[in-house]
Point group: C2
Chain length 110, copies 2
DNA sequence: CTTATTTATCGTAATATTGCAATATATAAT
DNA sequence: ATTATATATTGCAATATTACGATAAATAAG
């Protein structure tokens, strides 16, 4: 097969998986970190920052955008990309809750 | 092509990407949540919990294990899987830091 | 030893991802 | 209008992922 069976899981599970999947590539992590570093959410010198060709970077940006992790607004001939805080917030809360639950359980069974 | 160029990125970036990638599938999110829910970190009734065949579940468990997100210990004929807290901790800290930085910046440029 | 139970591995088909050259599109500047 | 600049899209090859049936491996029970 090869196609993910998304319909069998809850919306919440799929939502987290979409975010995680988008971050599941070092280039996209690097893009997110670059967007963090640059104060002004400057655009496509991301290409100069990464060891990848322009079409490849453009594709990674598209995936981050589709997942809702970044936003982009046209700025003349350039495009201004920046992190969508809401997505990061979701991940932070998700792992925060899990982390807290694990600590309170103190499960040392394995 | 098709192969990820991991060698061009930092170890930290690759490490986060590995964790995120492993969680980038709803079945694996569901497995993690099931392991959270069950007090005793019970094993392979995960198969009964998920709408996937046993070999598929086994494969997903292997990927979670390879990524360091879960641990497994043999318990007779069964296997006891449970979450590796350290991995969750890493993710929680990572997104916590980003979230905090974003809040302090209040960047509303896009 | 044989049989059941549980989990892992192999093999394979379907599909997805990664990466880039070539090309298209869109705005800015001259 | 022409040219330069920035980004997106297309097309394609290489590789990876997803899913599962069939089968293997390993322990437990009889």
């Amino acid at each position: 097969m090869g196609a993910t069976k998304t319909d069998h899981f809850t919306d919440k599970q799929n939502a987290i998986a979409v975010l995680a999947k988008a971050l599941g590539h070092p280039a996209r992590i690097a893009i997110m970190e670059y967007l963090m570093k640059v104060d002004t959410c400057i655009c496509g010198d991301i290409v100069n920052e990464l060891p990848l060709a322009q079409p490849t970077v453009s594709q990674h940006l598209k995936e981050l955008k589709n997942a809702g992790l970044i936003k982009g607004s046209i700025e003349g001939t350039a495009i201004c990309y920046c992190i969508d805080e809401k997505a990061i917030e979701k991940l932070q809360v998700y792992f925060g809750v899990i982390s807290k639950k694990l600590n309170s359980k103190k499960n040392n069974c394995c």
